[in-house]
Symmetry: C2
Subunit: 324 residues, 2 copies
Amino acid sequence: MKNNLDNIIEFLKGSNDFVVTSHISPDGDNLGSTLGMYYSLKNLGKNVYYVLDDNSPQNLTFLVENVEILKSSEFNMKDYNIVALDCGDKNRICLSDEIRDNAKKIICIDHHASNDYYGDLNYIDIDASSTCELVYNLLVRYRETEGIDLINETIATALYTGLATDTGNFAYSSTHPSSFEMAKELLLKGAKRDMIIQKVFQSNPYSYYKLLGEALNTLDIVDGKVASICVTKEMLKRYTISFNDVDGVTSYTRDIEGVEVGILLKEKKENEVKVSLRSKNYVDVSQIAQQFNGGGHVRAAGCTIYDSVENAKQKVLEAVLKTI
Amino acid sequence: MKNNLDNIIEFLKGSNDFVVTSHISPDGDNLGSTLGMYYSLKNLGKNVYYVLDDNSPQNLTFLVENVEILKSSEFNMKDYNIVALDCGDKNRICLSDEIRDNAKKIICIDHHASNDYYGDLNYIDIDASSTCELVYNLLVRYRETEGIDLINETIATALYTGLATDTGNFAYSSTHPSSFEMAKELLLKGAKRDMIIQKVFQSNPYSYYKLLGEALNTLDIVDGKVASICVTKEMLKRYTISFNDVDGVTSYTRDIEGVEVGILLKEKKENEVKVSLRSKNYVDVSQIAQQFNGGGHVRAAGCTIYDSVENAKQKVLEAVLKTI
């Protein structure tokens, strides 16, 4: 069934046991939206388990400090429902196939363009700034229909984090008037905005900037319109920066004057390169990512190429240059 | 007279000839608020002259492309009133003393803590995110009392620019719920947000990032709490980046985890180093700057040291380490 907030609310009200989860390589919107749902269900007196077979990036650990996140191997409930947040692909849900396939129902809340409505109940809005905005909408609807306001300081902080990270702190074109309305209410509800800004945007380790300096040496520009940066596994090792902690480097490609498409090539292991794509005005980078079995949004997408960094760069550049 | 929006509205309604102006070294809030007032008075059928004896920074010229800005020497009206925007000090109003002193009345709209209410009519709010937010409040009050909505796409774009630049695009703690309400309405009114973001924040030249890469090689940290970066005149020359265009590099020092004070040392010429200081939570960097005959704010200050880059660094570090 497609979007129906009231059906989802009815389902959440009528069930007791939930697993909340999201996609691999957690980011702010992933963690924020999952936590927003986790705390909301807890506050409604439900049994809720947060299951995720991956670790949070260092700058977001403040969000999950007091939350028990289980690995799939630690979870052994029966008769549960899954709420999958910010997860555009059923196969990227970050828990075991067994847990996924044994769920009574899957409720999918997401804003990825590639989402194929894989849930039994779905709330998908590809124009939304973030999945956090969808969770916020659900909570506002809950307040309207049930007369109970679930948005407290903790939930406001979680949702503000995802809104801020998925919009580049209100810079991306996916920041709609509704996003500002949400930001306003979350601030009024006590979202710890100053802490979020400091933790998320102003707490990179010293070694991160040393790595950035080295990565900027690889900054390359083609036709003045396509810029790329490479981060190799040797760089990550040299500066002891984890694979999930360098995605911010992508912005140094896109933010160059005249550049339409920015590319970050991040080597996970030999012959496995994660590619992040950003565009400014007219190139649909999700279509480029799809050519390499990836996905995402029109202005921000990603894929994995199983080849050397240099070959991956050539392959992506070739695909990008066809769109310029 | 202190704050009274209705008195200012009555005055604007009852007068016909205006000069709008702001402070020297125009920034986004300066230009945005002055343009917001300029267009509003124009739309009310007033005679309005924009007088400013300075040039706009390159990344903000898009705002004033279609506006005739006069130098003081080109202005020869009599019987006019001045609306001074975003200008905390009567002596920093960016037009001739003669024009300033011959005005019938000065209306001052500003958010600087140092403002001494020098206007005949004043609207000062030091907690406001920006002077643009004050102009917005004035236009909202005008709509409420007069039933006329002056906020069109052009005014929305001007005011959004100042709101975005003076809040670090909604990152600073001066971003209040009211700022988000304003952002929401301005977007609905057609503020060209994507253009603003691109022009203001995403248009660094390619060579800027190459310089940044080299500058990051000089990144140094002491006791985990004080970080510094050096930009030499040779680097500026090599990448043809102008002295005034690298101040953004300072944030790479402050934004390191655990760092309280960040220092940028920028070599202007031999034995002349401009020092920018930023602090995160508790060090008053204006006091450090004052030791070297500089000044500024608690969290952002600057000074010039007449010595080599290396010696300047040692001198500043010594002063900073006493405060940590």
